[in-house]
Protein backbone atom coordinates (compact mmCIF):
# COMPACT_ATOMS: atom_id res chain seq x y z
CA UNK A 1 0.00 0.00 0.00
CA UNK A 2 1.22 3.42 -0.77
CA UNK A 3 1.84 5.68 2.16
CA UNK A 4 3.51 9.03 2.31
CA UNK A 5 6.63 8.81 4.40
CA UNK A 6 8.64 11.64 5.81
CA UNK A 7 11.73 12.62 3.88
CA UNK A 8 14.67 10.68 5.16
CA UNK A 9 17.27 12.32 3.00
CA UNK A 10 17.77 9.19 0.95
CA UNK A 11 15.62 10.08 -2.06
CA UNK A 12 17.06 8.73 -5.25
CA UNK A 13 19.93 6.99 -3.47
CA UNK A 14 19.50 3.46 -4.67
CA UNK A 15 21.77 1.89 -2.08
CA UNK A 16 20.57 4.12 0.74
CA UNK A 17 17.02 2.85 0.69
CA UNK A 18 15.83 5.80 -1.33
CA UNK A 19 14.14 3.96 -4.15
CA UNK A 20 11.04 1.96 -3.49
CA UNK A 21 11.26 -1.49 -4.98
CA UNK A 22 7.98 -3.41 -4.88
CA UNK A 23 6.27 -0.13 -4.06
CA UNK A 24 6.81 -0.59 -0.35
CA UNK A 25 8.73 1.88 1.78
CA UNK A 26 12.11 0.92 3.14
CA UNK A 27 10.86 0.47 6.70
CA UNK A 28 7.94 -1.71 5.76
CA UNK A 29 10.06 -3.86 3.54
CA UNK A 30 12.58 -4.40 6.32
CA UNK A 31 9.75 -5.32 8.66
CA UNK A 32 8.60 -7.91 6.13
CA UNK A 33 12.14 -9.29 5.90
CA UNK A 34 12.26 -9.58 9.66
CA UNK A 35 8.86 -11.24 9.74
CA UNK A 36 9.90 -13.84 7.17
CA UNK A 37 13.02 -14.73 9.14
CA UNK A 38 11.14 -14.79 12.45
CA UNK A 39 8.49 -17.00 10.87
CA UNK A 40 11.25 -19.42 9.93
CA UNK A 41 12.55 -19.37 13.50
CA UNK A 42 9.15 -20.19 14.92
CA UNK A 43 8.49 -22.89 12.37
CA UNK A 44 11.87 -24.36 13.29
CA UNK A 45 10.70 -24.60 16.90
CA UNK A 46 7.31 -26.01 16.01
CA UNK A 47 8.85 -28.50 13.60
CA UNK A 48 11.27 -29.57 16.35
CA UNK A 49 8.24 -30.05 18.59
CA UNK A 50 6.73 -32.19 15.82
CA UNK A 51 9.97 -34.16 15.61
CA UNK A 52 9.94 -35.00 19.32
CA UNK A 53 6.28 -35.76 19.25
CA UNK A 54 6.65 -38.12 16.30
CA UNK A 55 9.50 -39.75 18.16
CA UNK A 56 7.25 -40.46 21.14
CA UNK A 57 4.02 -40.64 19.20
CA UNK A 58 2.52 -43.34 21.45
CA UNK A 59 3.55 -41.66 24.69
CA UNK A 60 2.79 -37.98 24.24
CA UNK A 61 0.59 -36.25 26.86
CA UNK A 62 -2.96 -35.32 25.82
CA UNK A 63 -3.18 -31.51 25.83
CA UNK A 64 -6.87 -31.62 26.75
CA UNK A 65 -5.97 -33.23 30.06
CA UNK A 66 -3.15 -30.83 30.81
CA UNK A 67 -4.68 -27.41 30.18
CA UNK A 68 -8.03 -27.67 31.91
CA UNK A 69 -8.12 -24.67 34.22
CA UNK A 70 -9.86 -21.34 34.02
CA UNK A 71 -8.98 -18.63 36.54
CA UNK A 72 -11.60 -18.06 39.27
CA UNK A 73 -13.48 -21.22 38.27
CA UNK A 74 -13.17 -24.70 39.65
CA UNK A 75 -13.66 -27.74 37.53
CA UNK A 76 -12.56 -29.20 34.29
CA UNK A 77 -12.76 -26.88 31.28
CA UNK A 78 -10.32 -28.03 28.65
CA UNK A 79 -9.42 -25.49 25.97
CA UNK A 80 -11.76 -22.76 27.14
CA UNK A 81 -9.09 -20.47 28.54
CA UNK A 82 -6.70 -20.87 25.63
CA UNK A 83 -9.56 -20.12 23.27
CA UNK A 84 -10.20 -16.97 25.28
CA UNK A 85 -6.52 -16.01 25.01
CA UNK A 86 -6.63 -16.58 21.26
CA UNK A 87 -9.68 -14.38 20.99
CA UNK A 88 -8.01 -11.62 23.04
CA UNK A 89 -5.00 -11.66 20.74
CA UNK A 90 -7.11 -11.59 17.58
CA UNK A 91 -9.16 -8.80 19.10
CA UNK A 92 -6.03 -6.75 19.83
CA UNK A 93 -4.98 -7.38 16.25
CA UNK A 94 -8.28 -5.85 15.18
CA UNK A 95 -7.78 -2.73 17.29
CA UNK A 96 -4.27 -2.48 15.85
CA UNK A 97 -5.50 -2.59 12.26
CA UNK A 98 -8.17 -0.05 13.19
CA UNK A 99 -5.39 2.19 14.51
CA UNK A 100 -3.57 1.81 11.20
CA UNK A 101 -6.75 2.67 9.36
CA UNK A 102 -7.31 5.74 11.54
CA UNK A 103 -3.71 6.71 10.83
CA UNK A 104 -4.45 6.73 7.12
CA UNK A 105 -7.17 9.24 7.81
CA UNK A 106 -4.75 11.25 9.99
CA UNK A 107 -7.15 10.92 12.90
CA UNK A 108 -4.91 11.31 15.93
CA UNK A 109 -7.66 10.78 18.50
CA UNK A 110 -8.75 7.45 17.07
CA UNK A 111 -5.17 6.22 16.62
CA UNK A 112 -4.51 7.00 20.28
CA UNK A 113 -7.61 5.16 21.44
CA UNK A 114 -7.01 2.07 19.32
CA UNK A 115 -3.32 1.90 20.22
CA UNK A 116 -4.32 2.06 23.86
CA UNK A 117 -6.80 -0.80 23.44
CA UNK A 118 -4.16 -2.83 21.61
CA UNK A 119 -1.74 -2.41 24.50
CA UNK A 120 -4.43 -3.47 26.98
CA UNK A 121 -5.17 -6.57 24.89
CA UNK A 122 -1.48 -7.43 24.78
CA UNK A 123 -1.16 -7.06 28.54
CA UNK A 124 -4.18 -9.29 29.17
CA UNK A 125 -2.63 -11.90 26.91
CA UNK A 126 0.78 -11.82 28.59
CA UNK A 127 -0.90 -11.95 32.00
CA UNK A 128 -2.95 -14.95 30.93
CA UNK A 129 0.14 -16.68 29.71
CA UNK A 130 1.90 -16.06 33.01
CA UNK A 131 -1.08 -17.55 34.81
CA UNK A 132 -1.08 -20.53 32.45
CA UNK A 133 2.60 -21.10 33.18
CA UNK A 134 2.04 -20.86 36.93
CA UNK A 135 -0.77 -23.42 36.76
CA UNK A 136 1.32 -25.71 34.59
CA UNK A 137 4.33 -25.49 36.91
CA UNK A 138 2.21 -26.09 40.02
CA UNK A 139 0.51 -29.14 38.51
CA UNK A 140 -2.60 -30.66 39.98
CA UNK A 141 -2.53 -34.42 40.46
CA UNK A 142 1.06 -35.45 41.01
CA UNK A 143 2.66 -38.59 39.63
CA UNK A 144 5.46 -41.09 40.10
CA UNK A 145 8.50 -41.23 37.88
CA UNK A 146 9.95 -44.65 37.17
CA UNK A 147 13.57 -45.68 36.97
CA UNK A 148 13.32 -45.50 33.18
CA UNK A 149 12.04 -41.92 33.34
CA UNK A 150 8.40 -42.69 32.53
CA UNK A 151 5.50 -41.10 34.36
CA UNK A 152 2.88 -43.15 36.20
CA UNK A 153 -0.35 -41.35 37.07
CA UNK A 154 -3.24 -42.46 39.25
CA UNK A 155 -6.87 -42.98 38.31
CA UNK A 156 -9.92 -44.47 40.01
CA UNK A 157 -11.87 -47.41 38.62
CA UNK A 158 -13.90 -45.07 36.39
CA UNK A 159 -10.74 -43.78 34.79
CA UNK A 160 -10.97 -40.38 36.52
CA UNK A 161 -7.70 -38.84 37.69
CA UNK A 162 -6.85 -39.13 41.40
CA UNK A 163 -4.50 -36.67 43.05
CA UNK A 164 -1.73 -37.94 45.31
CA UNK A 165 -3.19 -35.88 48.13
CA UNK A 166 -6.41 -37.92 47.92
CA UNK A 167 -4.89 -41.20 48.98
CA UNK A 168 -1.41 -40.60 50.32
CA UNK A 169 -0.68 -39.42 53.86
CA UNK A 170 2.53 -37.57 54.45
CA UNK A 171 4.50 -38.85 57.42
CA UNK A 172 7.06 -37.00 59.43
CA UNK A 173 10.10 -36.22 57.30
CA UNK A 174 13.58 -36.55 58.67
CA UNK A 175 15.19 -35.30 55.52
CA UNK A 176 15.53 -31.52 55.42
CA UNK A 177 15.83 -29.60 52.20
CA UNK A 178 19.39 -28.68 51.43
CA UNK A 179 19.68 -24.94 51.02
CA UNK A 180 22.72 -22.79 50.48
CA UNK A 181 22.41 -21.33 53.95
CA UNK A 182 22.36 -24.64 55.83
CA UNK A 183 24.78 -26.71 53.79
CA UNK A 184 27.43 -26.30 51.20
CA UNK A 185 27.06 -22.75 49.93
CA UNK A 186 27.72 -23.71 46.33
CA UNK A 187 25.19 -26.56 46.27
CA UNK A 188 21.43 -26.35 46.37
CA UNK A 189 18.56 -28.66 45.53
CA UNK A 190 15.03 -28.14 44.35
CA UNK A 191 12.06 -28.28 46.71
CA UNK A 192 11.49 -31.73 48.15
CA UNK A 193 8.21 -33.37 47.12
CA UNK A 194 5.43 -33.58 49.71
CA UNK A 195 5.45 -37.36 49.69
CA UNK A 196 8.02 -40.09 49.39
CA UNK A 197 7.64 -43.10 47.11
CA UNK A 198 7.23 -45.28 50.23
CA UNK A 199 4.26 -43.25 51.38
CA UNK A 200 2.68 -43.48 47.93
CA UNK A 201 3.04 -47.29 48.02
CA UNK A 202 1.37 -47.38 51.45
CA UNK A 203 -1.45 -45.16 50.24
CA UNK A 204 -1.93 -47.25 47.13
CA UNK A 205 -2.13 -50.45 49.16
CA UNK A 206 -4.79 -48.96 51.43
CA UNK A 207 -7.05 -47.89 48.55
CA UNK A 208 -8.10 -50.81 46.33
CA UNK A 209 -9.97 -48.50 43.94
CA UNK A 210 -6.86 -46.61 42.82
CA UNK A 211 -5.10 -47.79 39.68
CA UNK A 212 -2.00 -46.73 37.80
CA UNK A 213 -2.17 -45.15 34.37
CA UNK A 214 0.88 -45.28 32.09
CA UNK A 215 1.98 -42.91 29.33
CA UNK A 216 1.20 -45.43 26.63
CA UNK A 217 -1.70 -44.44 24.36
CA UNK A 218 -4.04 -47.24 23.28
CA UNK A 219 -5.96 -47.66 20.03
CA UNK A 220 -8.61 -45.13 21.06
CA UNK A 221 -5.95 -42.54 21.84
CA UNK A 222 -6.45 -42.90 25.59
CA UNK A 223 -3.82 -43.64 28.21
CA UNK A 224 -3.45 -47.30 29.26
CA UNK A 225 -4.77 -48.16 32.74
CA UNK A 226 -3.09 -51.09 34.49
CA UNK A 227 -4.80 -53.77 36.56
CA UNK A 228 -4.68 -53.52 40.32
CA UNK A 229 -1.96 -56.14 40.71
CA UNK A 230 0.09 -54.68 37.90
CA UNK A 231 -0.33 -51.16 39.33
CA UNK A 232 1.13 -52.19 42.68
CA UNK A 233 3.94 -54.09 41.02
CA UNK A 234 4.91 -51.15 38.78
CA UNK A 235 5.01 -48.66 41.61
CA UNK A 236 6.89 -50.99 43.95
CA UNK A 237 9.45 -52.20 41.46
CA UNK A 238 9.98 -49.14 39.28
CA UNK A 239 8.74 -46.15 41.28
CA UNK A 240 11.68 -43.89 41.97
CA UNK A 241 10.54 -40.35 42.54
CA UNK A 242 7.43 -38.36 43.34
CA UNK A 243 6.74 -35.63 40.79
CA UNK A 244 4.50 -32.66 41.51
CA UNK A 245 4.03 -30.09 38.78
CA UNK A 246 6.45 -29.38 35.99
CA UNK A 247 9.94 -28.08 35.41
CA UNK A 248 12.49 -28.45 32.65
CA UNK A 249 13.76 -31.75 33.99
CA UNK A 250 10.60 -33.64 34.84
CA UNK A 251 6.86 -33.08 34.77
CA UNK A 252 3.82 -34.94 36.00
CA UNK A 253 2.06 -34.81 32.63
CA UNK A 254 4.35 -37.22 30.81
CA UNK A 255 7.38 -36.96 28.56
CA UNK A 256 9.76 -34.31 29.88
CA UNK A 257 10.17 -32.92 26.35
CA UNK A 258 6.53 -31.87 26.45
CA UNK A 259 7.15 -29.37 29.24
CA UNK A 260 10.46 -28.30 27.71
CA UNK A 261 8.81 -27.38 24.44
CA UNK A 262 5.88 -25.81 26.22
CA UNK A 263 8.17 -23.50 28.16
CA UNK A 264 10.37 -22.77 25.20
CA UNK A 265 7.80 -22.13 22.49
CA UNK A 266 5.12 -20.34 24.51
CA UNK A 267 7.91 -18.54 26.33
CA UNK A 268 9.48 -17.34 23.11
CA UNK A 269 6.10 -16.28 21.84
CA UNK A 270 5.30 -14.57 25.14
CA UNK A 271 8.58 -12.71 24.84
CA UNK A 272 7.50 -11.52 21.41
CA UNK A 273 4.17 -10.34 22.79
CA UNK A 274 5.97 -8.58 25.61
CA UNK A 275 8.36 -6.77 23.27
CA UNK A 276 5.39 -5.99 21.04
CA UNK A 277 3.65 -4.35 23.99
CA UNK A 278 6.78 -2.33 24.78
CA UNK A 279 7.10 -1.14 21.18
CA UNK A 280 3.39 -0.36 21.10
CA UNK A 281 3.76 1.75 24.22
CA UNK A 282 6.63 3.71 22.66
CA UNK A 283 4.61 4.33 19.51
CA UNK A 284 1.57 5.17 21.63
CA UNK A 285 3.46 7.97 23.36
CA UNK A 286 4.83 9.17 20.04
CA UNK A 287 1.26 9.39 18.79
CA UNK A 288 0.19 11.36 21.85
CA UNK A 289 3.15 13.72 21.48
CA UNK A 290 2.11 14.32 17.88
CA UNK A 291 5.32 13.04 16.33
CA UNK A 292 3.51 11.42 13.40
CA UNK A 293 1.07 14.29 13.05
CA UNK A 294 4.05 16.56 12.43
CA UNK A 295 5.73 14.01 10.20
CA UNK A 296 2.57 13.91 8.15
CA UNK A 297 2.36 10.13 8.14
CA UNK A 298 1.38 7.38 10.55
CA UNK A 299 3.47 4.80 8.79
CA UNK A 300 5.26 3.91 12.02
CA UNK A 301 1.96 2.66 13.41
CA UNK A 302 1.64 0.51 10.34
CA UNK A 303 5.09 -1.00 10.81
CA UNK A 304 4.59 -1.86 14.45
CA UNK A 305 1.17 -3.13 13.40
CA UNK A 306 2.81 -5.60 11.02
CA UNK A 307 4.87 -6.94 13.90
CA UNK A 308 1.86 -7.16 16.16
CA UNK A 309 -0.19 -9.07 13.59
CA UNK A 310 2.71 -11.40 13.09
CA UNK A 311 2.72 -12.23 16.80
CA UNK A 312 -0.98 -13.03 16.48
CA UNK A 313 -0.25 -15.15 13.42
CA UNK A 314 2.33 -17.19 15.29
CA UNK A 315 -0.08 -17.75 18.16
CA UNK A 316 -2.65 -19.18 15.75
CA UNK A 317 -0.11 -21.88 14.88
CA UNK A 318 1.07 -22.44 18.46
CA UNK A 319 -2.58 -22.82 19.47
CA UNK A 320 -3.16 -25.47 16.82
CA UNK A 321 -0.04 -27.51 17.36
CA UNK A 322 0.15 -27.30 21.13
CA UNK A 323 -3.44 -27.41 22.20
CA UNK A 324 -5.49 -28.89 19.37
CA UNK A 325 -3.60 -31.44 17.31
Amino acid sequence: MDTTVANTGTEGKTWGGGNRPLNASYGKMMMWFFIVSDALTFSGFLAAYGFSRFKFIDYWPIADEVFTHVPFFHGNYPMIYVAFMTFILIMSSVTMVLAVDAGHHMNKKKVTLYMFLTIIGGLIFVGSQAWEWATFIKGDYGAIQTKGGNILQFVDTDGKRVALADFVTAEKKYRAEHERKNGLWFVQESTLPTYTVGEVIKGLESRPDVLVRTQLLNEEGEKTVLTRAESLRQIKENGKRVVEGANLEVNEYGTSLFADFFFFITGFHGFHVFSGVVINIIIFFNVILGTYERRGSYEMVEKVGLYWHFVDLVWVFVFTFFYLV
Binding site: N23, S43, A47, G50, S52, D58, S93, L98, V316
Partner: protein, 146 residues
Protein backbone atom coordinates in the same frame (compact mmCIF):
# COMPACT_ATOMS: atom_id res chain seq x y z
CA UNK B 1 -3.84 10.03 -0.40
CA UNK B 2 -3.70 6.80 -2.28
CA UNK B 3 -4.75 4.15 0.17
CA UNK B 4 -6.49 1.81 -2.19
CA UNK B 5 -7.96 -1.07 -0.22
CA UNK B 6 -9.44 -4.08 -1.85
CA UNK B 7 -12.72 -4.35 -0.07
CA UNK B 8 -13.90 -7.84 -0.80
CA UNK B 9 -13.08 -11.24 0.67
CA UNK B 10 -13.95 -14.79 -0.38
CA UNK B 11 -13.16 -13.87 -4.00
CA UNK B 12 -15.76 -11.15 -4.09
CA UNK B 13 -18.53 -13.12 -2.36
CA UNK B 14 -18.48 -10.75 0.59
CA UNK B 15 -18.07 -7.06 -0.23
CA UNK B 16 -17.59 -4.23 2.22
CA UNK B 17 -18.28 -0.54 2.01
CA UNK B 18 -15.24 0.61 3.95
CA UNK B 19 -11.97 -0.76 5.26
CA UNK B 20 -13.25 -0.57 8.84
CA UNK B 21 -16.22 -2.72 7.97
CA UNK B 22 -13.96 -5.22 6.28
CA UNK B 23 -11.86 -5.47 9.46
CA UNK B 24 -14.92 -6.33 11.55
CA UNK B 25 -16.07 -8.79 8.92
CA UNK B 26 -12.71 -10.57 9.02
CA UNK B 27 -12.84 -10.60 12.83
CA UNK B 28 -16.26 -12.26 12.70
CA UNK B 29 -14.93 -14.87 10.31
CA UNK B 30 -11.78 -15.57 12.37
CA UNK B 31 -13.84 -15.89 15.56
CA UNK B 32 -16.18 -18.29 13.80
CA UNK B 33 -13.26 -20.46 12.64
CA UNK B 34 -11.70 -20.46 16.13
CA UNK B 35 -15.06 -21.45 17.63
CA UNK B 36 -15.29 -24.41 15.25
CA UNK B 37 -11.77 -25.48 16.26
CA UNK B 38 -12.52 -25.26 19.96
CA UNK B 39 -15.79 -27.17 19.69
CA UNK B 40 -14.14 -29.90 17.64
CA UNK B 41 -11.22 -29.95 20.07
CA UNK B 42 -13.48 -30.44 23.08
CA UNK B 43 -15.89 -33.01 21.65
CA UNK B 44 -13.50 -34.84 19.31
CA UNK B 45 -16.17 -36.60 17.21
CA UNK B 46 -15.42 -40.31 16.87
CA UNK B 47 -15.90 -40.26 13.12
CA UNK B 48 -12.92 -37.88 12.79
CA UNK B 49 -10.57 -39.78 15.09
CA UNK B 50 -9.56 -42.54 12.68
CA UNK B 51 -7.97 -42.21 9.29
CA UNK B 52 -10.33 -42.67 6.39
CA UNK B 53 -7.87 -44.55 4.19
CA UNK B 54 -5.33 -47.29 4.76
CA UNK B 55 -1.94 -47.16 3.05
CA UNK B 56 -1.70 -48.78 -0.37
CA UNK B 57 0.33 -51.95 -0.52
CA UNK B 58 2.41 -52.92 -3.49
CA UNK B 59 5.02 -51.45 -5.70
CA UNK B 60 6.08 -48.07 -6.96
CA UNK B 61 2.59 -46.75 -7.74
CA UNK B 62 1.38 -47.65 -4.27
CA UNK B 63 4.27 -45.69 -2.78
CA UNK B 64 3.49 -42.74 -5.02
CA UNK B 65 -0.17 -42.93 -4.00
CA UNK B 66 0.82 -43.01 -0.34
CA UNK B 67 2.93 -39.89 -0.82
CA UNK B 68 0.26 -37.94 -2.71
CA UNK B 69 -2.56 -38.92 -0.40
CA UNK B 70 -0.46 -38.85 2.78
CA UNK B 71 -2.67 -36.26 4.56
CA UNK B 72 -5.59 -38.66 4.28
CA UNK B 73 -3.68 -41.87 4.87
CA UNK B 74 -1.47 -40.98 7.81
CA UNK B 75 -3.33 -38.15 9.51
CA UNK B 76 -6.48 -38.24 11.60
CA UNK B 77 -9.19 -36.25 9.78
CA UNK B 78 -9.62 -34.11 12.88
CA UNK B 79 -5.98 -33.00 12.82
CA UNK B 80 -6.19 -32.37 9.09
CA UNK B 81 -9.21 -30.13 9.68
CA UNK B 82 -7.34 -28.23 12.41
CA UNK B 83 -4.35 -27.63 10.18
CA UNK B 84 -6.46 -26.51 7.22
CA UNK B 85 -8.47 -24.14 9.42
CA UNK B 86 -5.23 -22.74 10.86
CA UNK B 87 -3.90 -22.00 7.41
CA UNK B 88 -7.21 -20.36 6.52
CA UNK B 89 -6.91 -18.14 9.60
CA UNK B 90 -3.27 -17.34 8.80
CA UNK B 91 -4.33 -16.35 5.28
CA UNK B 92 -6.91 -13.82 6.47
CA UNK B 93 -4.63 -12.38 9.15
CA UNK B 94 -1.87 -11.85 6.60
CA UNK B 95 -4.05 -10.72 3.73
CA UNK B 96 -6.42 -8.38 5.53
CA UNK B 97 -4.79 -7.39 8.83
CA UNK B 98 -1.29 -7.11 7.44
CA UNK B 99 -2.68 -5.68 4.18
CA UNK B 100 -0.96 -8.25 1.99
CA UNK B 101 -4.02 -8.08 -0.26
CA UNK B 102 -3.14 -4.47 -1.11
CA UNK B 103 0.59 -4.98 -1.65
CA UNK B 104 2.18 -5.58 -5.04
CA UNK B 105 2.03 -9.21 -6.10
CA UNK B 106 5.83 -9.32 -6.30
CA UNK B 107 6.15 -8.40 -2.61
CA UNK B 108 3.47 -10.94 -1.76
CA UNK B 109 5.31 -13.70 -3.59
CA UNK B 110 8.65 -12.73 -2.14
CA UNK B 111 7.34 -13.15 1.38
CA UNK B 112 4.93 -16.03 0.99
CA UNK B 113 6.76 -18.34 -1.39
CA UNK B 114 10.06 -18.07 0.46
CA UNK B 115 8.42 -18.85 3.76
CA UNK B 116 6.18 -21.61 2.49
CA UNK B 117 8.95 -23.37 0.62
CA UNK B 118 11.44 -23.36 3.48
CA UNK B 119 8.84 -24.26 6.10
CA UNK B 120 7.58 -27.21 4.03
CA UNK B 121 11.14 -28.45 3.71
CA UNK B 122 11.77 -28.09 7.44
CA UNK B 123 8.57 -29.88 8.38
CA UNK B 124 9.21 -32.70 5.94
CA UNK B 125 12.75 -33.38 7.14
CA UNK B 126 12.01 -33.20 10.85
CA UNK B 127 8.80 -35.20 10.84
CA UNK B 128 10.31 -37.82 8.58
CA UNK B 129 13.27 -38.27 10.93
CA UNK B 130 11.03 -38.25 14.03
CA UNK B 131 8.99 -41.05 12.50
CA UNK B 132 12.16 -42.95 11.68
CA UNK B 133 13.42 -42.78 15.27
CA UNK B 134 10.02 -43.85 16.56
CA UNK B 135 10.14 -46.88 14.30
CA UNK B 136 13.58 -47.76 15.66
CA UNK B 137 12.24 -47.54 19.21
CA UNK B 138 9.12 -49.55 18.50
CA UNK B 139 10.88 -52.32 16.61
CA UNK B 140 13.24 -53.29 19.40
CA UNK B 141 16.00 -50.86 18.42
CA UNK B 142 16.50 -52.64 15.11
CA UNK B 143 15.73 -50.82 11.90
CA UNK B 144 17.44 -53.01 9.33
CA UNK B 145 18.27 -56.57 10.21
CA UNK B 146 20.56 -57.96 7.55
Amino acid sequence: MAHAHKLEIFRGLWKFKSNTQKIWGVLAFLTFVTAIEVVLGIYKPDSLMHTWMTPFEGGFLATLGNIFLSPFIYMKPLNLIFIVLTIVKAYYITWDFMHMRDEKSSLRRMVVWTGVFLICYLIFILLQEGGYIESVYSSGYVKRDF
